[in-house]
Symmetry: C2
Subunit: 438 residues, 2 copies
Amino acid sequence: MRSDILADRINIGIFGKMNVGKSTVMNLLTAQQTSIVDPTPGTTTDIKQAILEIHDFGPVKIFDTAGLDEFTKLGEKKKAKAIQALKESDLILLAIDPIELLKTNDFSAENEITSLARTYGKQIFIIYNIFSRKMKSSADEYAKKCNEKLYHTANLHFIVLDAKAKEAGKCLIEFIKNNFVKIDKKTDLLPFLKQNNFVVMNIPVDEETPEGRLLRPQNAVLDYLLRRFVPFAGFRMDLTKARSKIKAISSTEKKKYLDFLKKLNAHKNAQLIITDSQAIDIVAKWTPKNIPVTTFSIIMINYQSNGNLQKLIEGTKTMDSLKENDSILVAEACNHDRKCNDIGTVQIPNRLKQKLRIKNLNFEFNFGREFPSEHELKKYKLIVHCGGCMVDSQKVNARINDLMNVKRPVTNYGLLLSYLEGKKTLNRVLKPWGLSIK
Amino acid sequence: MRSDILADRINIGIFGKMNVGKSTVMNLLTAQQTSIVDPTPGTTTDIKQAILEIHDFGPVKIFDTAGLDEFTKLGEKKKAKAIQALKESDLILLAIDPIELLKTNDFSAENEITSLARTYGKQIFIIYNIFSRKMKSSADEYAKKCNEKLYHTANLHFIVLDAKAKEAGKCLIEFIKNNFVKIDKKTDLLPFLKQNNFVVMNIPVDEETPEGRLLRPQNAVLDYLLRRFVPFAGFRMDLTKARSKIKAISSTEKKKYLDFLKKLNAHKNAQLIITDSQAIDIVAKWTPKNIPVTTFSIIMINYQSNGNLQKLIEGTKTMDSLKENDSILVAEACNHDRKCNDIGTVQIPNRLKQKLRIKNLNFEFNFGREFPSEHELKKYKLIVHCGGCMVDSQKVNARINDLMNVKRPVTNYGLLLSYLEGKKTLNRVLKPWGLSIK
């Protein structure tokens, strides 16, 4: 099982009213696991989630959401979280108690889910849970009647299930396996790479770098290179020295970097230099023109957005039109200890204001797993997002889709930091991807 | 906080009879945490454990053991596990209800712990938990009386505590901070390294390699190099090709490796080549004589054993004297999916028998976090241990100490695989460490 966050998991969201057996469905799925990553369904912001591997199906993340009928009672917030889970799901399982539902004849909550699933292009399967009632002979009749009242059910897959029955788990898994269409992500981490020649990495270490291991983007790149037999070399630039105003210090650091490249015979042997985005100011300046350069952050956002780097380049372009008092959202998908010269809260705001010669830009920050609602996003003229290396690509894509829906431009750290150095630098880091900005 | 397994955590073991407030002590400590790694005390083989960072003290792992008085009732197994926790602890907290203890006047269980702590050279502090009884004025008297009956208490630190009182947590932490002597581990991952010149890594990937990231030893080495500004280069040798009996295939792979070294100008620029132990047969043969070579496994076992590589070399030497029908224990500190040509269960047994020309060697296996008792270890003529990269150094050292106590030789995967290639190869991988075998 892929142990990394970049694993291509299938996200399954379980939806339905209270007491239709949502938790039972969750348990049926988790009981089929072959490899446990996080066996205890945990509660994250009102959504229980479990990560596991289902035999013969693959790694999955399962969300068990609040009851649909709790939405109205508990307000918009709980609903927003459930919808968030829906956006991050590849497969929606809508659990229904057909007898109860036909009794009330109120399909509005269920139809909200089928509509949302259609809006966001999700596969949706209906689970008619008949419990152990004595009506199994006509269970399909009930299901058929329900199907008629549900929207968008023309090609809907459904299963009639006694979730408490002995073989229910097996049946459910078989049902999912037989009907779920696996869409190969096919996003290549470094699609333009050739097998020969070195890839050179510049990996500065700062106060916020965790000790004892490399960061995920570096781990992902190294794993990618090794699996393709691409040799690599690495270097840590001392950014304090490189940016020193004392000429002797900065030129010694420059010589060190160029000597390193020379030893590698880099102008002949290096097919790509990948740098931490924070060093792009120096790396772009010092690296010989003929060696292609890109950044870890750009690699990550392209991978995590399923190859939608172009959308973020469009967002980057809009920076030129920012005006006094515009609001900008800086978003990072994870929380970490912030040190005094933190990139998101200090460097980006300061440098952007300086670059654009704008005195007042209203920076707001969103750190962690929850993202503003589409409505809240409308106030921002630009969203600057991190590479998203600590969350799954479903979450990154859900965020990008939200932003596209409300027509808000989004860029990321790597693109922004390159843009700050001028369009020439931005185009240099985009060139390996066959992309550019005018 | 160091997020890696190689973090230098302080292990704290909580011991004591039932109902003396062991869990309360655990809760007092976990309530003081600043950074949560695993906040829920989990039960591992009857030992609850929590990993967290205590403000102004550092990262700790806390074991909450079974009640001392349960030992007799529940048998040797539970006791063995508690003693295992003691061996892996840096600090023993012995909780005592002084009033109850003086009433029974049976100090045998407590004295067993103080004796074991002394035997294994552990720091031990006594916590006299007086609960909220109305006797606080003379609490110190009770403690003093108990101290007199406990062995090895001459320089013992103790605290009288009402564990349920409001400031109890603060008091306890202050007490630990003021009295615990932090011993700097000071084991350097690569003590012989110079800051200049490349370190070259050979990282083969096999079926058992997890996807999406490098293994811990490689992560640890790369982090170490970056923090010291040591440049590095990496290569993945195709071992199937390298070992091919078809000359054209193996010589193409050899040329690829030598070309890689040549591009790096390795005979001048490489100060060390680190290879996965499994490739030492090829790397030792193909690498130019003047370039020092060692293996990831040797680096790890030296680090995890606090620099006790010499002890494992002594164990390696004893392999020459193995005889027909001797028993050998192959131990790995973690469990992972085993593929058909697994190193521990297949490669090592087969190759060792072949090398020693012994038909019958009785191989037994121990995988996971529990280790045989000293008594059980006596049956083995040799123990072959993995690098221990997935557990903490306290556990690795506890195991090595157990083996030294029963005078059983221990070697590890990296040393054994090098030994299998002959003493010349073994001495080559030991040379960077200033060590050798005759």
